[in-house]
Symmetry: C2
């Protein structure tokens, strides 16, 4: 939570999502200039001028606005080719200086104040019932593709009436701004862009006014001229009478009808309940208080958690970016949950699913099952494997694609949009990584939910996963070390990569990678537990054997300084933080026993702790500002993974202190709120603090691991 009245804008001038759940929609706001607005299915902020302001208390006829607009295009010249002698009165508008703005930033409310003006957005980040067996009324309420706002002008000290307004000017002509006169009969005042998004209020006396620019709208005295259909700018406005404090509720709605995806033809699930944008706005107006109350109550729950201000900032920001990426589709009557990958817009990227898992298991556990089922049914494949430099194929097995498609286009069954053959770096296959990811997610889902039916249905799949994992170690049982040594034949002469695709080989290559080794080890341990429950003693033995081999291989690799190399192949000098990452799955798959001092695996846990302490040092895996550097040999560091490893370090390995807590959190907050990074809301890939990739991204919800268990701020 940011709650400051700083003279420097940098701490509060950042974009954040304000999103419903499942609508792939975001009313993004907070960065200076024309940087936010109504975004539907975008991989970036909408770059609209957003006008939130009121007539000045000091100078009648001039207007002061929150600083969310830039230089404004005036299209009139396009039509007025000759001078016609008609004069237009343009009002003076100015932005409140950032030094006069206060922001209160929480997961479900976001509020800006400047003088007597306050604008607050409410976007309850509530869980979504399982459409198969959840409360249908709650499902409808929560799927409404809208967020809510209040605009208050405290004119109690004022001696004259003042005009207050909320409006916008889109940056392009894909849609057209219009007064939504259809809702007028319902007593609702509404301004929309085509049938895709808009704002509505039932505040008595409110109206719409449209023209080419805000200055003309505010300068115009004749309301008859407010209906201009060729307008490119519009506002909803009303009067705050002298001596009164007026708060106006606003519904900010989104809607996209019909089939929205290709490959698989799906619609938005919410269209079952809301056929048109008008229905969305009407419902929002009628139920405003429910949404506002939910947002306020959820925030109060969050406040009760014992977290630092900086931690709260990271969590709130991450959840917002995640919700803006959610898309609940309806495919032939069945729900299909999709998380869109920020600026890249890849769909349900499986290595993100494995990180977002922890949040979903708190929030919407059924979505994990939904995604896993869809992967198994449509985006899994079977391969063979080869040793590097060789051509002889050995048995491989089941694995999963990197993703299900991109930009609303589902790929062919058994293929991702990302993976290409013949490569050793970016865009190569992630066969082993995704096999581990699907397996860990499945095990965590079973453990967290106790869903015995699903577990029993999939025992054969788990067995196939185990078989496939073992085959990627070595075709000869006696030669197995628990470490991946063979690449998928799908790479066709290339080599597999991990989710850390854009880092150097310390994290990017899969074979011999110790990050992947520990995650694989956790998978064996999770499967051991699963197969034990299912009475498959034969497979339990395999799991134990492989888990032990991973441990022995890693312990053998420990160097004199206590560190473990990033890659157990060739002569790699890198050391990495994420070698500890896989430990998180021990907790979420019911294997906390492994963490005990008397566990047979205690030596590995101790070695990982020693390694971590050894590398978390300036010049190794710490940047100068105290931020974490995931690899000693790359300046590319990812916040989502840092959050995760912070959790492992603190809550699993028991390592505390500023370097893993306050100092790191503040450095990372400074990255996110620095300019121009802050334009992108939450972002992941920073190069020494500069946001370079994975912008506008959902993956940061690994920060929710920091929440106490049982979850405070459970959002339910």
């Amino acid at each position: 939570m940011v709650d400051t009245n700083s003279n420097s804008p940098s701490s509060i001038a950042f974009n954040a999502h304000h999103s419903p759940v499942g609508a792939f929609a975001s009313f993004t706001l907070g960065y200076p200039g024309a940087s936010g607005g109504f975004g539907l299915e975008l991989g970036k902020p909408a770059d609209q001028h957003i006008f939130i302001g009121a007539e000045s208390a000091k100078a009648a006829g001039t207007f002061e606005l929150l600083p969310f607009f830039g230089e404004m295009e005036n299209e009139q010249d396009q039509f007025v080719l000759d001078s016609q002698g008609d004069t237009v009165r343009k009002a003076r508008v100015s932005a409140v200086p950032w030094s006069a703005v206060t922001r209160r930033f929480r997961p479900c409310t976001d509020s800006w104040s400047a003088g007597d003006l306050t604008f607050t957005v409410f976007s309850p980040a509530w869980p979504l019932p399982d459409p198969a067996d959840g409360d249908p009324d709650a499902l409808k309420t929560r799927l409404l593709p809208a967020v809510f706002a209040e605009l208050t002008l405290d004119n109690r000290q004022g001696d004259r009436d003042r005009r207050v307004f909320f409006g916008y000017q889109p940056d392009n002509h894909a849609h057209h701004i219009r007064e939504n006169w259809n809702l007028g009969e319902e007593g609702i005042c509404s301004l929309c862009d085509g049938s895709h998004y808009g704002v509505a209020t039932a505040h008595p006396g409110s109206g719409t006014a449209l023209h080419f620019d805000l200055q003309t709208i505010l300068g115009e005295r004749d309301r008859e001229r407010f209906h201009f259909g060729n307008a490119t700018t519009g506002i909803v406005d009303w009067i705050a009478p002298a001596g009164e404090r007026v708060t106006v509720p606003l519904v900010i709605g989104f809607h996209r009808a019909g089939v929205v995806t290709s490959g698989l033809a799906c619609q938005y699930f919410y269209t079952r309940y809301f056929k048109t944008l008008d229905e969305v706005l009407q419902y929002g107006v009628d139920h405003f208080e429910i949404y506002k109350q939910a947002a306020v109550e959820m925030d109060a729950q969050w406040d009760s958690a014992e977290l630092s201000e900086s931690q709260r900032f990271h969590i709130a920001h991450s959840i917002r970016s995640y919700y803006g990426s959610t898309q609940l589709l309806d495919h032939q009557g069945s729900p299909l949950w999709v998380i869109n990958e920020g600026e890249y817009r890849m769909m349900n990227t499986l290595d993100l699913t494995a990180d977002q898992l922890f949040f979903e298991l708190r929030q919407n556990p059924w979505t994990t099952r939904n995604v896993l089922d869809h992967y198994l049914r449509r985006y899994s494949y079977r391969d063979e494997v080869v040793f590097p430099g060789e051509t002889e194929a050995h048995p491989g097995g089941l694995s999963f694609c990197h993703d299900m498609g991109v930009m609303n286009c589902f790929t062919r069954p058994g293929t991702s949009c990302y993976e290409l053959s013949g490569l050793k770096g970016c865009f190569s296959y992630m066969t082993h990584e995704e096999l581990v990811n699907w397996s860990c997610c499945a095990a965590a889902y079973c453990h967290s939910t106790g869903d015995r039916t699903w577990r029993a249905q999939n025992v054969d799949v788990f067995e196939a996963c185990l078989d496939s994992l073992v085959n990627r170690d070595h075709p000869v049982p006696g030669s197995r070390t628990g470490i991946m040594k063979l690449d998928s034949t799908r790479t066709r002469g290339g080599a597999e990569i991990t989710t850390y695709d854009s880092l150097d080989e310390s994290l990017g290559q899969s074979r011999g990678n110790t990050y992947l080794a520990v995650k694989t080890w956790a998978t064996y341990l999770a499967f051991e537990s699963l197969f034990l429950t299912e009475g498959r003693e034969d497979l339990v033995a395999v799991c134990r054997d492989q888990a032990n081999r991973v441990m022995q291989s890693l312990l053998k690799a420990v160097r004199s300084d206590g560190t473990i190399p990033a890659v157990l192949e060739g002569d790699h000098s890198s050391v990495i933080i994420p070698i500890i990452e896989g430990l998180v799955f021990l907790r979420f798959t019911g294997r906390e026993d492994v963490l005990k001092e008397d566990s047979p695996y205690a030596p590995l846990v101790a070695a990982l702790k020693t390694h971590f302490i050894a590398v978390l040092k300036p010049g190794v895996c710490l940047f100068e500002d105290g931020a974490w550097k995931l690899s000693s040999t790359s300046i590319n560091s990812w916040l989502s993974k840092i959050y995760l490893c912070q959790y492992v370090a603190r809550d699993i390995l028991g390592i505390t202190g500023p370097a893993v807590e306050a100092a790191a959190d503040k450095a990372h907050q400074a990255w996110l709120t620095g300019h121009p990074n802050a334009y992108w809301a939450w972002g992941d890939q920073f190069y020494s603090g500069d946001l370079k990739g994975s912008k506008y991204y959902p993956r940061g919800v690994t920060s929710c691991l920091w929440l106490p268990e049982p979850q405070v701020g459970s959002l339910s």
Copy 2:
């Protein structure tokens, strides 16, 4: 028709629409660079790189393309943040020089040749049966939202196989390029952007290949890597074997499902027959020959008309831009015909309807009735009128809005998106102009079609129109002069304007305007005829009386040099060409009797002819290059109105010679094909030859008045 192999690109390097009817879609192509492509509901070309080319005959592995692409963005850097050591082979591509390109440009085929490569687009501009009673099979066939192309490589002289391709790279990320694998089972190879547009072929051996850029696609040898889902560029490709001439048919399809408009919720009419883009492409592939044959046959009909090459160019270009603006909607089961106004995207602008009328009465007469009915039902109003500078309201009457909305947003009933009160120039009301336009269109529709039912149904409306016209002359019968003297109260202190909104007062102001006077005179004459048929002698007398008063007023205004001033109010020195414009309606409403030498109106016709001859002179109403200057006091001249006045001068007033024929046509062609004008396909408003407004515009079909009667190239 342009059929040249000039060394100068200027004569053939112009964009043109290639459009189905009623789909508001255009495959625009012809201007250099990334200037065309797949446009759906756009007010401008799509600015895509279009790749049409083949492996060079001289250098294997290098590729030569038609010059329809620009510098290409390579997105790979966005992903490859670190160097991964993976090398990509990029092929060399180059554009054929314009000097080596030949273009054959006709209304329904457009063909470019360079060396042994030929690319031809077929877009039959056929009439559309009335959905109410036309042939349903023809309706389905003609509404298919697709155009067709053939790409030929003549490799008969070649000694090795050569790769040939058609592809594109969109300029933005609104949609996503993808291989359309769904159609693969049908033996169709297809490349699409989401579910909105794409290309397909059933040519055996064709495939798709995708990557970030064309150079990589063409450099890649491994077809397994052609499926890249994250691609931003794609091609459909095949091999032309050595010694063979290979022609591949391509279907270029568009589709937009569901409700596409707001205000009135409408879908595309074609969605009755084609639910998805895949159905469009499949149907197109299955019926390719029908469409190709239709285009070729229609062109042959056109060729049979006795027209100059330049006239053919204007007609072909105009029809193409018109078809790209057509949109047949389905509103609650009824057809709704919309012409979108080019770059402005206003819908069914009534003063354009009155110019496009002549084309529609040949082509799709029912659409005129459809638009007139919709205006009457929903976009008409009743007003009062005032003298300038006064406030006392006098009876006004029925009139019609300027338009029905903009950018797929229908305005409130009784309002346009354009008109605003309180103005004297652009965006003011066009009450008198639109009253005359609706009346002329209605009379012309009745006369051309002989639709007695509709005429009889609307006698009361015609009477209301007549009453309204007379009231705008003068409230006191004895003071009437036939000339408009009162403005609508809707102007609220402003003044009405004509369709020539952006010209100076010579054409822009309505009161006293002689352009409007002659058009009003033609309306009275048309109504006289209508009421005579309907046995309303009382109204016939009014019409005659008013028509005579118009004539007397105009004759009184003739000056010693034979010219008539542009405005019969104050001291206006301007003279204008469009004073003759209204004469066109005499012919189309069955009043050619008026043109005879023994007609009581012969003095006015003679005066108009004298006026026209007097003003069509360099320095008055001719630009130096021989182009027409509509007003002596404005450099803003409109091609659509020039075409119309050329027709009136030649075919009604009998004035011939280079100034009204070849010299003018060539000068106007040079305007359209000059750079950068030529980017905008057909455009209307030129400032001394520079296209400044009304770009990408439908209004040019006034050129079809030049076609012989009965229509050669009737397109049926």
